[in-house]
């Protein structure tokens, strides 16, 4: 018997999980955050239901601070695939003047990401939301289930998670309860890029190096994507050849200096890299168990 390769096994597992949600949940949604993990997830969802289309919409929680290229890529991709996309922004937060620079990253993340996500899930009564999170990303994610149960208040209780033996997922829930579902749980960053290359999956061009206007701030290289980012005294915009390993809100996402302008270049760079991908994400460093805490509050 020919063995499936490592990537074929991961692909089959993810498609199985995706179909399980379609078969057992009433109102699923795919959390689409435009990055490479979302790109892979979207590709797998298209495969799972071919020749039909996914029987659920996509949801993008827009904090209004995403890179412009991300939004352009999102709109082009959704149009190309002919899918339904819901874009949700926390309008109360925006009206209250929550601003990344004035309010700080912690409040911004809570209001414009965590609260916004909860608002959207409640508004459309989604009972299962796919996310592209992987267990290799962060310590508390390493212990999260593939079907991660959330209370009606969207809270995660790490100490009472359901066992998931074999492929037998218990998808029963009470009214108000919901699932976050992570089909890429067992993928690593390297698997994601290898799969992007193998399946020729389109990704946001920000992942590829090119000269971009950046400012050195708090030990990171921040790309000034629009006028809202005021320069501090002594700061100067320089053109440097950079790329991004992860994509989020632009003022919170550090660029890396690189000349890798092709997929093979990115993969070679990642293999020799000695730092983890989320190192460029400011919000992860608010204290040792920071992600665990945010997840308990309802963050993805």
């Amino acid at each position: 018997m020919i063995q499936l390769t490592h990537l074929q096994k991961l692909e089959a597992e993810a498609i199985h999980i995706i179909r399980e949600v379609a078969a057992t949940c009433e109102n699923p949604v795919l959390l689409y955050s435009i990055g490479k993990d979302s790109a892979v997830l979207l590709h797998l969802v298209m495969k799972a239901f071919a020749p039909g289309k996914p029987p659920f919409p996509l949801l993008h929680v827009d904090t209004t601070w995403k890179f412009r290229e991300m939004i352009a890529f999102r709109d082009a991709r959704i149009a190309e695939l002919g899918l339904e996309l819901i874009v949700h922004t926390n309008e109360e937060g925006r009206a209250a003047g929550v601003n990344l620079f004035a309010s700080g990253s912690r409040l911004h993340t809570d209001v414009m990401k965590t609260q916004a996500l909860r608002q959207a899930l409640d508004k459309y009564k989604f009972d299962a939301a796919f996310g592209g999170a992987r267990r290799d990303e962060e310590r508390s994610r390493a212990k999260e289930r593939i079907f991660s149960m959330r209370s009606p208040e969207h809270r995660w209780d790490p100490k009472s998670q359901r066992p998931e033996p074999w492929r037998l997922f218990n998808t029963r829930k009470r009214p108000g309860e919901s699932f976050r579902v992570f089909p890429l749980s067992n993928w690593t960053e390297a698997d994601v890029w290898d799969y992007v290359a193998l399946e020729k999956i389109p990704v946001v061009p920000l992942y590829f190096a090119k000269p971009r206007p950046v400012v050195a701030r708090d030990g990171m290289l921040i790309m000034r994507d629009d006028e809202r980012m005021a320069l501090r005294a002594g700061e100067e915009i320089e053109m440097r050849s950079v790329r991004f390993r992860t994509l989020g809100c632009y003022p919170l996402t550090g660029a890396v200096e690189s000349n890798a302008s092709t997929l093979s270049g990115i993969i070679a760079e990642m293999r020799s890299s000695r730092v983890s991908e989320r190192q460029g994400r400011l919000i992860d460093h608010d204290g040792g168990a920071s992600m665990e805490q945010k997840k308990q509050e309802g963050y993805f």
Binding site: M1, E20, A23, A142, K173, D191, P202
Partner: protein, 533 residues
């Protein structure tokens, strides 16, 4: 936007990623050094990035147990509560790879109260690493973990005898523990047991052989993990089992049955039948995102299109035409009870294959995981393992776990709390208990005809086939009678009698046979008080 929406072909290059995947579990008693071992594997294979190492240095000073040295265990203790208490509470999954293989590790807790987490981690594993503290030898926990690992079907075990540095790398200690482990697990059916003397803390015999164990003739742990062959037994290439997970009907012109191939392979033109109904048809095409495939193999997630407009829904199983998978409501197996509430027989749902059904549980014995002795009982405590009989409200397509890791596995769910309360494996299916009473009522007329006409294994024969051989048989009798008697009316009478008597006698005989064999089929509900033999 001038994004490379379609990548240039020149940028697609041969993947350097490892082709094969090994899933393994580490288990052992409390403080045997499981987390340290995994931390060591991650560290030695370069899977720990510099920024994580930096926070590890900070955490080691704060929570560490190794003085000023790096506490590698902190790499895998993910939850804040775990780091504070210095124990592993939940299954942690870790990932690393070498040029030869990719690895997924389930790091599972040692405490008895977390046995269920361990069993979950073991259920998907190709191999288990069982840690033994060289100073303590084989403990009750070692036996328990070995038992659970064998119950969920792990056939290859590495016994890592750890903390060898604390016993002066003494070969005698190593050999004594290896012998006592072999003796303790003789009946568990492991195909291969490999013993490796290690020190996870110092790295002896992990990435490379240690100078302190010159007497050790085997290989270093990582070297062994990279090369061990865990490929499943080759299934019969003509066989196929695919539980229907989802019916794909995007429009009126397409109907496909999606699922993951549990056993064997699918190919276009293959004769298949759908269980439980037994309807026969053929695979018309195998649909993928890229178009169509001519075949698909075990573990692939596929969509099958069938030739006839047959009815199949989630939970049905598409199998190769000659497949003998039994359809039954009752099966015997072993299960691990995972709920804090003691096991009782009512209010349960069995989840198996791609289906769920209300079920009654009767517990027969509890297995002592330390001595492997069995005691009759009618309830199980949390983390208790027992032999049980399960009666499902509806017929299920079943298999024994030793033959089929998909159809032979099940969980139980509490109908009120939705909690997953047990996981188990099927040891024996009771096909004699075919759905009679309640199922017969629901059967449609053609099915009734089929039951009268068909041979014992009615699921494998269509109505047309059953009718046809009986008509042929009656014609032969007519012909023989005609030749023998030279009288047309006697010949016709003999033929008609042959046809009719077969139906009547068959039904009468079946009832008598059922009554006779029923004496041996004890109804589980009747012995729920623990008659469990």
């Amino acid at each position: 936007m001038n994004a490379p929406l379609n990548l240039p072909a020149a940028d697609i290059f041969p993947i350097a990623a490892p082709a094969a995947l090994l899933r393994f579990i580490t288990c052992g008693s409390v403080d045997d050094g499981k987390s340290t071992l995994i931390g060591r594997l991650l560290y030695d294979t370069g899977a720990v990035p510099d920024d994580q190492l930096a926070s590890l240095h900070a955490d080691s000073r704060r929570f560490g147990t190794q003085g000023d040295a790096l506490d590698l265990a902190l790499l895998v203790d993910g939850l804040a509560a775990e780091r504070e208490q210095g124990i592993t509470i939940d299954v942690a999954y870790r990932y690393f790879s070498t040029p030869r293989r990719a690895f997924i590790v389930a790091d599972t807790p040692g405490h008895e109260q977390y046995t269920r987490n361990m069993a979950t981690g073991a259920s998907g594993a190709d191999l288990a690493i069982i840690l033994v503290d060289a100073r303590k030898g084989v403990l009750a926990q070692t036996r328990r973990h070995s038992f659970i690992v064998s119950m969920v079907g792990v056939r290859r075990v590495v016994v890592a005898i750890n903390k060898m540095d604390l016993v002066g790398f003494d070969e005698g200690v190593f050999t004594a523990i290896a012998n006592s482990y072999r003796a303790a697990t003789r009946h568990l059916g492991f195909e291969q047991i490999v013993f490796i003397p290690v020190s996870a803390l110092r790295g002896d015999n992990i990435a490379s052989l240690s100078a302190d164990t010159p007497w050790y003739r085997g290989r270093a742990l990582i070297d062994y993990l990279e090369t061990v062959d865990v490929s499943a037994l080759a299934a019969d290439p003509a066989s196929l089992r695919m539980p229907v997970q989802w019916v794909n009907r995007p429009n009126a012109h397409f109907r496909g049955f999606s699922g993951t191939i549990a056993l064997g392979a699918a190919h276009v033109g293959q004769d298949v039948k759908i269980l439980p109904s037994g309807r026969r048809t053929r695979i018309a095409s195998i649909v993928t995102a890229l178009g169509e495939d001519s075949s698909a193999q075990q573990d692939e997630a596929v969509t099958l299109v069938l030739e006839d407009e047959v009815d199949a829904s989630r939970g049905d199983v598409i199998v190769s035409a000659q497949d003998e998978a039994p359809v039954a409501r009752v099966f015997d197996g072993r299960l691990l009870w995972m709920s804090e509430r003691a096991a009782s027989g009512q209010g349960l749902i069995v989840q198996q294959g791609m289906t769920t059904a209300n079920a009654a549980l009767s517990i027969r014995t509890q297995i002592d995981v330390n001595t492997f002795a069995e005691q009759p009982t009618d309830s199980l405590p949390v983390n208790g393992i027992g032999r049980v009989r399960i009666r499902s409200e509806k017929p299920l397509v079943l298999a024994t776990y030793s033959q089929d890791r998909t159809l032979g596995a099940f969980t139980l769910i509490d109908r009120l709390t939705n909690e997953t309360v047990a996981l188990g494996v099927i040891d024996e299916v009771n096909p004699a208990d075919l759905p009679q009473g309640h199922a017969a009522v629901a059967r449609k007329a053609p099915d009734l005809w089929r039951r009268l006409l068909a041979p014992a294994d009615s699921s494998s024969e269509t109505l047309a086939e059953a009718l046809s051989w009986r008509i042929v048989s009656a014609l032969i009798v007519t012909l023989l009678a005609a030749v023998a008697t030279q009288t047309a009316w006697i010949a016709l009478l003999a033929g008609a009698a042959d046809f009719a008597l077969r139906l009547v006698l068959r039904a009468a005989h079946r009832d008598a046979f059922k009554r006779a064999t029923a004496l041996r089929q004890v109804d589980p509900e009747q012995n729920a008080d623990g008659g469990g033999i």
